[in-house]
Symmetry: D2
């Protein structure tokens, strides 16, 4: 799934490139779109973050249009992995890539829970669609 | 009431100075400290913002230590005004100043409410302490 | 000029609505689009902020699609005023409005300068187009 | 090296805990302090980020005081690794931990360079001090 990123001036730091922490916010934007596309759900997310990582490959300066590919990389019992690639949309130059692991979470009970069957099916289908 | 601000690298933009929107976040930090000092309350704020304004007087570059004075400028029935002055703490050079108006708010009922008597007393006392 | 805002999950605070400081970032996004549309310039902005203000009219919850109208409200010798209205794009409910004053600035010389004639013409035309 | 974190209200998201991306900003605050302590340098950083990762261990709610330990985990020819642990400072409960890899970078020439000898010495000494 590809989405366009709308960089904000405040995303850039004194070096004139996107600040390193902002990539996790970009990943979050991707999760939002991917989650809605997969589940049709618009309310607050029923999962919690376990891990995230970013590899910074090249600099994104102010004015560079960015796009992000988000894919489901793995599905476990309670958790799953999303992978992200952010590119300069003009020439597909790789800017950054990363992964996040998140787990289904019952915020009222404050504990992790298995991924519901219908969501698992969508996540799994998203993997297969790529293969 | 004076507090020290702990600028973050991500507060600075491509021009090397604090981004204009970040001053409202600094004001919010000031409100947090002032609110706790006045009321002793640590939970989520029982008020909502009505207005805010900032006047940018001089630039704050990376490395400049900042301090903020926050004062109660006015107390109304439901709302009150906080005023802020942000300075270079080395020489008191004025960097920015502003005001915010906020109103007591019942988030469950989703409506504004009068300022409780004990909070009004503290806010009023804060004005008088300055005079 | 109307633009769509792409709210980010991190724009929302513990109350579930857009944080008060984020509106200045939304205004900045509007300036970016308006500046490019008026001048055709894509490089870093040759102006600096003098003042900004926000009036918070109603809450924007997670999931509410936002749009912003940005207009030129006034043109002076060195400075000009942009006015902003942020609405729920589904029903035009007003969420927030505000103004910013900015001045043409020579960052190398560190001083304000008159608005160049061709930019003044575009800014003035933008006012007349509204009348 | 331990530093106190000054959480901001805007760091918290709709779930009432520190947003996942903010931890990279906390790490950045730690780098700032560690870099100054090690090198005595206050100007803009002469390095660039290669990688970062965060493991989210427990939630940090609004009001929880946070502290961070930052240590040098590894020193290579051009790059080095900083490791971070963020805890609830009242009881040392682990909230999040992570690592960043950064490389010395000549921003004018736009290429990585070896770590200067005197900085290497300080970074290496920081590792030995922990052993």
């Amino acid at each position: 799934m590809r989405i366009l990123i709308d960089p904000r001036y405040s995303d850039y730091d004194t070096r004139g490139h996107v600040n390193n922490a902002v990539y996790l916010t970009y990943f979050e934007i991707g999760r939002h779109h991917a989650w809605r596309a997969l589940t049709g759900l618009a309310e607050d997310y029923p999962f919690i973050m376990l891990e995230s990582s970013v590899r910074y490959v090249s600099q994104a300066k102010w004015g560079v249009p960015l796009a992000m590919d988000i894919t489901v990389a793995e599905v476990r019992t309670k958790a799953w992995v999303w992978a992200y690639r952010i590119v300069d949309s003009r020439d597909e130059r790789l800017v950054a890539e990363g992964r996040t692991v998140q787990v289904m979470f019952d915020y009222d009970a404050q504990r992790s829970v298995p991924i519901p069957a219908h969501i698992r099916e969508q996540l799994t289908r998203a993997i297969e669609a790529r293969e």
